[in-house]
Amino acid sequence: MIALSFITGFFTVMAVISGSALLVLVYLDNRKVRIDDGIAQFRRHIDALSPEARRSSVHHNNSEDKWGR
């Protein structure tokens, strides 16, 4: 009986430790992804403001007669 409860307790503790370790790993992995996401997002933001990216829209200015002026 004592041996059985010891084994159950041991496995419970092991399960808790493994679960916690897994959660920590998942958290660290997500954090890395978030940092990478931030860099990628900032890069996309800056790239979208480059003169090349703006060429199509800012230079897309229509002729004055289209506004009926």
């Binding site: 997002q41 003169p51 829209s57 800012v58 200015n61 229509n62 506004w67 009926g68």
Partner: protein, 334 residues
């Protein structure tokens, strides 16, 4: 499926940019309404022609003052009509990016987004005018250098220092070119005893108004109503008189530019001396204004090649690159 839109909802003019098409509408932010029935009678150029010339049952108004909504219902109806005119129907609800002054309050922001959503937009995002102006003026804001933009609109003057796609320093005041018109009206009333309308004041500003003396200084005859006799009267106004009349709002604009320069980090301040500041907006077209700012700040001032369209072109670029530039919208940074 409606194409997404960018709207520069200015105190003076409203411009609409349609995704993939460019600027599709540019007209005064004026609406004429029948006071009795509440029916809209005209908008844009047609309504502008009516200002100060309507019978008592018609009112032609500018629903925005100082870049903010003063009449929510009328603004909503104006936006609804604008959307209809560019092809938005009840079943096609576009995403809309609207340019607003950075100086407006949280309540005023809510009013703009609510009015736009109720007018038929599926999503309404706000972008600060100086940021949109810097994008539209094609300044190299993607680089780690100081870009300074001065946007003088009908109701506001906004100066911003922008670097690496974000605002570093900002100064905004609710003084714009309509305050210059009001100063002219008030001067003519006080010094000549003649009442003139806001359209006449605007014409005087365009014809002979200036912020600095110049070779093209001349005088103009203006017509108004004599305050004593009540009869029509013509008076001659010189460029020097107009310069004196408008000095207060012009000085306020220059001071706000100086305050923004003072807020800029030293590393970026040195960039202004070599790169200069860029002037956009209709108010920036006042004769001699660039020269006066340059004289008082000792920093070169350059006029944007498209001063009236820069803001909407910048917002248009944001609608073309909606996902990548989401971070620029006012709500996204909170």
């Amino acid at each position: 499926m409606a194409r997404d839109l960018a709207i520069d909802l200015g105190t003076a003019n409203t411009l609409v940019y349609m995704k993939g098409k460019g600027i599709v509408l540019n007209e005064p932010s004026v609406i004429a309404v029948n006071r009795q029935s509440g029916e809209v009678l005209a908008t844009g150029h047609d309504a502008w022609d009516m200002i100060g010339r309507t019978p008592s049952y018609i009112v032609a108004v500018r629903p925005l003052r100082g870049g903010a909504i003063t009449d929510f219902d009328i603004t909503e109806r104006m936006i609804r009509l604008l959307l209809q005119r560019v092809g938005v129907s009840r079943f096609t609800r576009p995403k809309v990016v609207i340019c607003v002054p950075s100086a407006i309050t949280e309540v005023e922001r809510r009013a703009v987004t609510d009015a736009t959503r109720r007018a038929g937009a599926s999503d309404a995002q706000l972008i600060e005018q100086p940021m949109a102006a810097a994008i539209g003026a094609n300044l190299p804001i993607d680089e780690p250098v100081g870009n300074m933009v001065i946007d003088i609109g009908g109701g506001t003057t906004e100066t911003a220092v922008i670097s690496l796609g974000g605002v570093v320093a900002l100064e905004a005041i609710r003084v714009g070119s309509f305050d210059i018109d009001a100063a002219i009206q008030s001067y003519v009333r006080r010094e000549h005893g003649v009442a003139i309308g806001e359209r006449t004041a605007e014409e005087i500003k365009i014809q002979i108004g200036s912020a600095e003396p110049g070779p093209e200084d001349r005088s103009a005859d203006i017509r108004g109503r004599d305050l004593v006799t009540g009869l029509p009267k013509t008076v001659r106004l010189t460029a020097e008189e107009v310069r004196f009349a408008i000095d207060e709002p012009v000085a306020a604009m220059v001071m706000s530019v100086k305050r923004c320069l003072a807020k800029a980090p030293p590393e970026l301040a040195q960039d202004f001396l070599s790169r200069g500041m860029y002037l956009v907006g209709g108010g920036g077209m006042l004769r001699g204004l660039a020269k006066r700012i340059e004289r008082e700040t000792e920093v070169p001032v350059k006029m944007s090649p498209q001063p009236l369209e820069a803001v909407v072109l910048g917002a248009g670029h944001c609608i073309e690159n909606y996902q990548a530039l989401r971070g620029m919208f006012m709500g996204a940074r909170r």
